[in-house]
Amino acid sequence: MAATTHDAGTRRDFLYVASGAMGAVGVAAIAWPFIDQMNPSTAALALASTEVDLSAVQPGQQVIVKWRGHPLFVRRRTPAEIASAKAVDVNSLPDPLAYNDNLPDNSPATDANRAIKPEWLILIGVCTHLGCTPTVSTPQMPEGDYGGWLCHCHGSQYDTAGRIRKGPAPRNLQVPPYSFLSATRVKVG
């Protein structure tokens, strides 16, 4: 009699534990959709990639495109701007890293590592200091001393490869992941 009750006890315990555990697993499994629904929707992700038409951009000109909620600088560099960027010694830069999403993390900030095609410089237009949008420097309206960009918020100055040269910004402007779909079309993101 005692043995039967004991068996019945452990059998009931097993069923209890098994049901409880399975119930808990079920709750955890169904919890995932409720958490995942807050992640970016496919509509947001569809805008994670932007295609930019380069055909209208003249040498020395920059267009700003919206990408993932940020301004994206698409700049067609003149040969002079490319040359001045190449002439800089990487070791003298405040920030020697390329910050190029198309390359490994610790790539140095050579001009070649800042643009896939030297003529086209594509950068996320967010100052690495506190997030303002730097103003582009053109021969007609120079901004800063390095021919690249000047951030008017706190005076950070970037060169013609978007690298920080002077001012409080700690890092070079970020190069986003991008690829050329054709000579006049680039897909960013």
């Binding site: 119930g23 959709p33 629904q37 807050m38 992640n39 929707s41």
Partner: protein, 418 residues
């Protein structure tokens, strides 16, 4: 039956908590040791199921509200965006929409259980009345919620029901304009309906708390309708009813899952997949199935004001049931005459629901459905206002068992076949 608490905090933490906020004591007394009649059947599991339904609706609703836009131009598209773009948005939406139907299915079973077993009779009158209040709040919540997708049925259902208020003499049109916030159902109406739809479920939750509190004073009724007399009549809620409720809850969830995953639009109306158009009325305006019986009552009366009175009167009637039923015996198991009228009442409700879903001039077997609805509506009122008082007085009930324990554990010949 609520008695002195038997909770005995064991660990230091439990004692610390108990002297500051006796929440574990509350859980112990209400869910663990609460003495519950040992003969509760499947129909008594729907209270727990309803709590689950409310939780599901609130959780899925809050999640949907993260993506829904309550603006007349954007609402319909925002719902489609939920269905197509939001991760698992289709699941959230279908759970919420079908969850509402399951909620009402459960509440109707719960209410019919109360009618059959006399759970509304003394000393449980207030539990019943609070329940009617919950039912009213549920209907209001469901009505507001159905408007939100801003489909054709959303818009025109809102138009028809809010127009009912214009039946009230003198102030009717002013009330309707005040409800709309405009000269007709529009963006202003949608926004306030969204606000109220978000608010009411939390009021329902609070009233459900009162409902359970009121229940825990006398304790549960049971299928025999006789009082608990000795401790042998009861078992502790845990593990007996926790496991039973859990099992039947899973069966209910299986039914829920069948709808959500395999027939998600079964309860819905195709017209609601068309964006609201104030200039085009759909050929048949119907509410969701759970409101159809009252809709049928409304349409069966050719006079607008009388139709409104009959419809709202039908719900108001429910409040008086504890005093309309004169029987000294609670459960229909022992009331052979009342039992027949009860089943006829159920048939009348189903017929009313069917009529409500058909077009106004429909006929079956040569009988115009509007007459079926009229007869069923008359029976609805007669059942509560005439049959309940009279049958209670003239009926000869069957002999009640001596006690619950004797009926369940003792000589089974004393217990009736049901």
């Amino acid at each position: 039956m609520s008695g002195p608490s038997t909770y005995n905090p064991k660990s230091g933490l439990e004692r610390w908590l108990d002297t500051r906020l006796p929440i574990l004591r509350l859980a112990h007394d209400t869910i663990q040791t609460f003495p519950t009649p040992r003969n509760l059947n499947i129909w008594y599991t729907f209270g727990g199921i309803l709590t689950f339904c409310l939780a599901i609706q609130i959780i899925t609703g809050i999640v949907l509200a993260m993506h829904y836009v309550a603006n007349a131009t954007l609402a319909f598209d925002s719902v489609e965006s939920i269905m197509r773009d939001v991760n698992y948005g289709w699941l959230m939406r279908y759970m919420h929409a079908n969850g509402a139907s399951m909620f009402f299915l459960a509440v109707y079973i719960h209410m019919f259980r109360g009618l059959y077993y006399g759970s509304y009779k003394a000393p449980r009158e207030l539990i019943w009345i609070i329940g009617v209040l919950i039912y009213l709040l549920m209907m209001a919540t469901a009505f507001f919620g159905y408007v939100l997708p801003w489909g054709q049925m959303s818009f025109w259902g809102a138009t028809v029901i809010t127009n009912l208020f214009t039946a009230i003499p003198v102030v009717g049109t002013h009330i309707a304009t005040w409800l709309w916030g405009d000269f007709a159902v529009g963006d202003a109406t949608l926004n306030r309906f969204f606000s109220l739809h978000y608010l009411l479920p939390f009021i329902i939750a609070a009233v459900v708390g009162l409902h359970i509190w009121a229940l825990h004073v006398p304790g549960n009724n049971n299928p025999l309708g006789i009082d608990v007399k000795t401790p042998q009549d009861t078992v502790p809620f845990h593990p007996y009813y926790t496991v039973k409720d859990a099992f039947y809850l899973v069966l209910f969830v299986i039914l829920f899952a069948v709808f959500v995953f395999y027939a998600p639009n079964f309860f819905g109306n195709p017209d609601n997949y068309q964006q609201a158009n104030p200039l085009v009325t759909p050929p048949d305006i119907v509410p969701e199935w759970y409101l159809l019986p009252f809709y049928a009552m409304l349409r069966s009366i050719p006079n607008k004001l009388l139709g409104v009175i009959v419809m709202f009167g039908a719900i108001a009637t429910l409040v008086f049931i504890p005093w309309l039923d004169t029987s000294r015996v609670r459960s229909c198991r022992f009331r052979p005459l009342m039992k027949q009228f009860f089943w006829a009442f159920l048939v009348a409700c189903v017929l009313l629901g069917y009529c409500g879903g058909q077009s106004v001039d429909a006929a079956r077997f040569g009988i115009p459905l509007v007459w079926v609805a009229r007869i069923a509506s008359i029976y609805y009122y007669v059942f509560f206002w005439l049959i309940m008082p009279i049958v209670g007085l003239i009926e000869t009930p069957k002999k009640l068992p001596a006690s619950i324990a004797q009926s369940v554990l003792g000589d089974s010949a004393a217990a009736p076949a049901e």
